[in-house]
């Protein structure tokens, strides 16, 4: 047991520093992917609420496809497929290979795209929960569409969307473990490497699980605080 703790510690024999850095990498990939998902999700939700027939069909197709295909396959497609595309273009332009794309970028794009599909559902639900009267009232007092969005729609939708967005963030963190297949050194990849080189498989996978649990628990607490704060001024117990 003593030896186990030295392995996980920050001493010269320990993997503590490396695991910490890997944990930060997990966070970095997740934050970028979530942000991309938020942008895509907002656009898609907008298209589904206010788009014409074509944009609506496109947006719906996007959500159906991305929610029906395994995350791992999407990451593979972006990483290996991306490399294939880059190679084709690069060769056509006359550059010398070999070509490669970074696991970080491929993973971020793939997870962002997947998360965008789910986030759009959350945002659309939140928009639909806004009382119609408030939007009409805004129009009546002469707000422009942008002011209406900024002062009436966004604040109300954000309040209802927080719990759903919290769930989406949790799944992004868990999906980020799949980016390890591209060789990006985040938590999952780092614990595999450590487990292989020390032959302490269970110990390091347990440590990895601990890192993920710490991240998910901490973010859960933060989202709860955000939810509470966003409900200030509302009737208590009414929500």
């Amino acid at each position: 047991m003593q030896a186990d703790l030295t392995l996980l510690g920050f001493g010269p024999e320990g993997w503590g520093h490396v695991l910490l850095r890997a944990g930060l990498m997990t966070l970095a990939v997740s934050v970028c992917a979530f942000a991309l998902g938020l942008v895509l999700g907002t656009l898609v939700a907008w298209a589904r609420i206010a788009g014409g027939r074509m944009t609506r069909a496109l947006a719906e197709g996007y959500t159906v496809v991305l929610r029906g295909v395994p995350d791992l396959l999407v990451i593979y497609l972006f990483y290996f497929g991306g490399r294939q595309v880059v190679t084709t273009i690069g060769t056509a332009l006359g550059f010398e290979g070999p070509f490669d794309i970074s696991g970080f970028v491929a993973g971020m794009l793939a997870i962002g795209l997947i998360s965008g599909a789910s986030q759009s559902e959350v945002l659309r639900g939140a928009y639909q929960a806004i009382p119609r009267g408030t939007i009409e009232a805004g129009r009546v007092v002469g707000m422009t569409r942008w002011t209406l969005f900024r002062r009436v729609i966004a604040p109300q939708a954000m309040t209802t969307a927080i719990p759903g967005m919290g769930n989406q963030w949790q799944s992004v963190i868990k999906e980020s473990a799949l980016v390890s297949v591209t060789g990006l050194v985040e938590t999952m990849r780092q614990v595999s490497v450590a487990a292989g080189s020390t032959q302490e498989h269970f110990l390091f996978y347990a440590a990895g699980a601990g890192i993920y649990l710490a991240i998910t628990t901490l973010s859960d607490i933060l989202f709860r605080i955000a939810e509470k704060r966003s409900l200030r001024g509302h009737v208590q117990g009414g929500v």
Partner: protein, 228 residues
């Protein structure tokens, strides 16, 4: 567009479909059973703590790490290698299935819990008053109401389990994704092959969505504006 190549690839990928479906169906069955047990455990205080901790751990960590922990991690304990379970825990199939079952149980138990909480107290009391035994109330009143309530969320869980089976390809199982991965490393045509595999999963999940929607309509026609 290289149609003969695509047809060839599709044929090869479909060889993995039975394993994908096998894993998905068995993990849903096992996970559903375990989820029911977890919810029964919640009736006692100690059991409730255990169930909460179980759900917390399995929902808070990625499935991939759970699979690796069972496949590589358990083997590093001497007593596991000497136990009667070793012939099973040595096989990637059983390890993958075990991880999927344990993971599915955590999510399904939460869905079921939500459904059970939605059962009106009055319905249970009415059943008890009219002389039903506890088991009959469970079978004729509680579970039917809870199942109807939980069905939409459970439909999403079925689809996410179907997608989750792709992860066992990382421990050398040759289901659809595993075959796709192997084909890519021998032909280097990643885009075509992975898109083919994606199409298979997409078709399956559309079928599941339809089936769940039909089931919902059949179980609760009053929610869809139909009266008998």
């Amino acid at each position: 567009m290289d149609i003969p190549f695509l047809r060839d690839i599709l044929g090869q990928l479909l060889v993995g479909l039975p394993l994908t479906l096998n894993l998905a169906v068995l993990s849903l069955l096992g996970g559903g059973g375990l989820a029911l047990i977890l919810n029964l455990l919640r009736l006692s205080r100690v059991g409730s703590v255990f169930a909460s901790a179980y759900v917390f751990v399995f929902r808070g960590t990625p499935l991939l790490i759970q699979i690796f922990m069972i496949y590589y991690g358990l083997a590093s304990f001497g007593f596991v290698r000497q136990s009667v379970l070793w012939p099973f825990l040595r096989e990637p199939y059983w390890c993958g299935l075990l991880a999927l079952v344990l993971n599915d149980a955590a999510y399904t138990s939460e869905i079921l819990r939500g459904g059970l909480r939605a059962v009106p107290k009055g319905a249970v009391e009415a059943g008890r008053v009219s002389g039903m035994t506890r088991a009959t109330v469970l079978r004729r009143v509680i579970l039917p109401i809870a199942a109807r309530q939980a069905l939409p969320a459970y439909g999403n869980e079925v689809i996410s389990m179907l997608k989750a089976t792709a992860l066992v390809s990382t421990i050398t199982l040759m289901e659809v994704t595993g075959i796709a991965r192997a084909e890519v490393s021998s032909t280097y045509r990643a885009v075509e092959i992975f898109l083919c595999a994606a199409a298979i999963y997409l078709a399956l999940s559309l079928v599941i969505t339809r089936a769940i929607g039909w089931l919902e309509r059949w179980l609760s026609p009053y929610n869809f504006g139909k009266t008998q």
